[in-house]
């Protein structure tokens, strides 16, 4: 049997420590010792109470007493969130469970359990203000993806609703309802912004923009939104129909909405996390006029690029598979191993998207090909 630690930190202690950390460091760089100290506390809590995660860590020969640094905490592969019940609090006592859309393998949805959403909410709002609204308290927001009342198992829905509630100026609204995107109302929203000469922000999944663009192309409408307007997307432009790249998409944004690359911002989020990661271009634009589109994390999240061969960190400038250490994920697993590739430089990191399947070099056949053919 795996070794049990003598005492588990109390749930409330852990949660309060996370809230304090978020409050204290915000989007500054936290000292490594402080990050490490809290990571150890959370790890000890998860190791004691999250049974499948303990088994996983034990098989990797990592336990709280033998842990040398936060970066040695075994990252749980995202597959684990699909197959296992990863929670340190009994399922029945969890106020919320967020699930993935399960597009990659239908029927198998990843789940992230939250005893309550206090930490999640605290983790959401600070970085949102910091990276998305560095120049103002509120902005007129148009949400073009399902909101919280439509899908309470979607972390994105919660995110969009919280953003609008906390930072939406007068005239903010939701434009996605049971029948889908309300194109006419969106058009009126954009017209109104132009008439009022008030900056607006559209917020939604990257794929929603694709449908919106298609609609506007058919109706032949274009807009020149007021200065400081911004377009917020999340999820990435992959896999939607054509081989459209991010740059193509942002070029179309400029043509159709009159919003430049400086004001298009991508949020990188995952159901398996309790925090979000952002492009820094809005922040840098309003700070010193530069356009830094690399990703940055708040103080309680660290993204590490790992060599897929050895799962050890790669040097800056080299591509690796991304592991996130998210201290706000205090109930499930603070460390997760994604299937996304990234490359870090001094000013942040670039997300390269999901790793493509490996292709066999010759006449052997790989899993991916078989899966694709049998799909």
């Amino acid at each position: 049997m795996p070794i049990q630690p003598a005492v588990s930190p109390a749930r409330e202690t852990v949660k309060q420590a996370v809230l304090d950390f978020i409050d204290r460091y915000g989007c500054e760089q936290a000292p490594d010792e402080e990050f490490d100290r809290l990571a150890r506390l959370i790890f000890a809590f998860q190791f004691a109470n999250n049974v499948p995660y303990r088994a996983y860590c034990t098989s990797k020969r990592v336990t709280p007493p033998t842990l040398d640094s936060w970066s040695s905490i075994p990252p749980m592969p995202v597959d684990g969130f699909k197959m296992l019940t990863l929670t340190s609090t009994p399922e029945a006592d969890c106020e919320a469970v967020f699930t993935t859309s399960g597009t990659t393998r239908p029927g198998q949805k990843g789940r992230n359990f939250h005893p309550d959403l206090e930490v999640w909410d605290a983790s959401m709002i600070g970085p949102f203000r910091h990276f998305i609204l560095p120049d103002r308290e509120r902005i007129r927001i148009g949400v073009i993806s399902p909101a919280w009342d439509m899908n309470e198992h979607s972390s994105l829905s919660r995110y969009l609703t919280r953003a609008l509630e906390q930072c939406g100026a007068e005239g903010s609204d939701y434009f996605f309802h049971e029948q889908g995107l309300e194109f006419d109302r969106i058009e009126r929203f954009l017209e109104q912004a132009v008439t009022d000469d008030v900056p607006v922000m559209l917020m939604g999944a990257s794929s929603a923009y694709w449908y919106l663009l298609e609609h506007l192309r058919e109706s032949g409408r274009t807009f020149v939104l007021p200065d400081d307007s911004r377009l917020f997307d999340t999820g990435g432009f992959k896999s939607t129909k054509t081989g459209i790249t991010v740059d193509d998409m942002y070029a179309m944004f400029a043509d159709v909405f009159g919003v430049d690359r400086t004001h298009c911002v991508n949020m990188y989020g995952m159901t398996e996390l309790s925090s979000q990661i952002y492009d820094q271009n809005l922040l840098s634009y309003y700070t010193d006029g530069s356009v830094n589109t690399l990703k940055a994390t708040p103080a309680w999240v660290r993204s590490v690029m790992l060599d897929p061969q050895t799962l050890t960190p790669v040097a800056d400038g080299e591509t690796g598979v991304i592991a996130h250490y998210d201290l706000a994920n205090w109930n499930s697993c603070l460390a997760i191993l994604t299937e996304d590739l990234g490359v870090r430089s001094a000013d942040g990191y670039r997300l390269l998207g999901r790793a493509k399947g490996a292709e066999a070099r010759g006449c052997s056949i790989t899993v991916d090909e078989v899966m694709a053919a049998n799909a």
Partner: protein, 512 residues
Amino acid sequence: MSGDGVSVGGNVVDNADIVDVFHAPAGFSFTAFDTREITTPDGPVSLRYPRLDADVIHALCDDVRKNRNDCLASMPVNDIIDVLAKAVELWTDPDYPLRRLAERLVPAITGYDADMTRIELKRYMRMFRRRELLRFVDDDLPCPQMLDEYRPNRSGGYTRLYGPDLSFHVFSSNVPGIPVWSMTMGLLVKSGIVGKSSFDEPLMPVLFAKSIREVDPELADAIAVVPWKGGTEPLENAAIGEANAVIVYGSSHTTELLRPKVAESKPFLSYGARIGFSLVGRESLRADCYESTIHHMAVDVATYDQQSCLAAQTVFVERGGVLAPHETAELLAHELESQQRKYPRSTPTQEESLAIRRMRSSVEMMSLFAGGSGTGMADDGSGPFVIASPHGTDWTVLYYPDAASLPTPASPLNRTITVVAVNDLADALPVMTPYRQWLQSCGVAVDSTRLFPLAQRVGELGIDRICPVGEMNRAKSGWHHDGGFNLLDLVRAVDVERGTDRFADSFDDDFE
């Protein structure tokens, strides 16, 4: 990186620094060349190859076809066998310069371990010695001389077999030397050969052509081998248009790209992706033989890192032996580690490593889900588990306690093997049924009473090759490659019908 110049016929310029990775008929000149650098233990080497366009390919095809018509077309098949056999015999000498060159460069180009490559190449070339070539010929053809002249057939007439004037071969790079098989078959049916080699292993087909040149320069002039990037349409369209037959090795992607371009009337042979598996009976896990069985299992996985279509990707191990299947998995892991020390795996790409990681974690999650520990040995083999190499993704053993829980028999390769426990080997067969289109080799370790009944069953399943465990990567001379015929599939038969001879006799002056 590039240089202009004229090379006649593409002679090997082996001054250790520049090596030509193309072969063309003597007198054929290319006008421009490019080079690629590789790093060998003895320092950098430039691989030189010609710059190509559709006109060059047309000219090359013309030249090869003409030389073929002048010489090869009228060469008796026995003489062709002699030439090929002498060329191959050169390779049995460890000091043969081209063999030395291959042993030096192929590992550097492919990343395969040098010792493994040396041993496998040596074994491979021996498959084409004279007595082995006779197998290829006699196995397919009731009367090989039909390739030379009209010979009596069984229906009372006469038959002559004609190979294509010119065949276009698309070589793969996964296993060094495979092009030798395809070139040999082409030459045996008296076809001129234009081969497109891969930049990932352009050398062996060229060296084989050079060896032929040493024995019979005229025959070597009916061969051209040049590398280009797969999917370069103008070149491929030109070659396909010129050829009377097209033979493609490579991924399904490659074959599906080329197949529609080939006119229906031309033979199109493709050798694509396959899933190999093996059946390990309880009798092969007796106290006196389990060690060698497990060693053989590991060899099937380690050889060329499962990049060959012949390799094992899943092993079904029968319960009831001295070793239980989960213990077999554990010992197989040890044996893979010792293979890794002897013959280190080539460095996989990031995508390949990630695919292995993904497979490992998916089985780990299944194991945790089933209440196991994820990695390492299971206590009793009742749940799935993973045994991972101590370093990186060097090798991986994935274990499933029964066939029903196996999600796929296909492996992410690069020494990733799935071990499935079964109560009876017959339990493995239903699992493999949906994969019929990819089945080919089946390794077996069973006693003689079970061999043929089992062969009968797996034959029905879609398998076309049954061989000993440990020999999966070493197909034997004469094997009906992917269930087809090596020579028959390339030729067309012309019959002089029964009675035609007598009818001709009737015009003789003194016919009775």
